[in-house]
Amino acid sequence: MSGLKSIDAPKSTTVEVRLPSKMGFEKVAMSTASAVAKLMGFPEDRVEDLKTAVAEACINAIEHGNRLNEKLSVDVVLSAGVDSLEVKVIDDGKGMTKQPAKPDIDRKMHGEEDPRGMGMFLIQALVDEAEWVAGAEGKSSYVRLVIRLDKEAE
């Protein structure tokens, strides 16, 4: 394949995936994000970073945003630009009101912190940009992730 960059295409190519709010379906978004990133020419290690970030964003949307309500969907919109890939993961929750504290393994080991709660930390650590946007009227909240092709050169 020639890769998305070499295609004589508009500035942004969009791929959309709609997931049921059921654990495990984050892997569908993960596979799609991986395929798009590979088409864009991202190196394997960045593809792996993106896969984990997208999976964690979808898990949060399924579990916390849509509260595992299978009647609600999680929409994943991937926009491939010239040198970056933006991923929006949209749910029907109220959105994040505050950022959780950075996980502390020592506190977890001593029972002072829940062993869980690492998803947002992983997302922030693995992509170049991550922002959580609360939707109007408590709906259609989303997390927006950006991963850049030229990160190695920076």
Binding site: G24, K27, D45, T52, G117
Partner: protein
């Protein structure tokens, strides 16, 4: 949608002669893996299984809920005077385990041979 987690226990000895309980995982490590991950660990006899080695070489997908199960295992192991080591993680998940601090409480090795040689 999750690939069911399978766990198999094997008893080995390190080159130094120490008994090592190896937990071999297969499939996904996610929120649905509690029985496979914690259950297989908790079934080990605490008095004789002082060295526990986790084999992730057949695991393709680990999410934050799966990592939390590994941390729960490390907490129980710490409380029981056991030491936990792991091998077979991909480069990506080695990075992720390092980022969340697991390497402070569990030694990571590339292969089983390297792990056993260090025990």
């Amino acid at each position: 949608m999750q690939n069911e987690t399978k766990a198999r226990v094997e008893q080995l000895a390190s080159p130094a002669g120490h008994p090592v309980s190896v937990l071999r995982f297969e499939g996904d490590i996610a929120s649905t893996s509690k029985d496979a991950v914690l259950g297989s660990y908790q079934a080990l006899p605490k008095e004789t299984s002082k060295l526990v080695l986790l084999d992730f070489s057949k695991v393709d997908y680990i999410n934050s809920s799966g990592i939390a199960l590994v941390i729960q295992m490390l907490i129980e192991a710490s409380n029981s005077g056991q030491k936990v080591y792991a091998f077979g993680l991909s480069a990506h998940f080695t990075k992720v385990f390092t980022m969340v601090g697991i390497t402070k409480y569990a030694g990571l090795f590339a292969t089983q041979a390297e792990a056993l040689a260090a025990l």
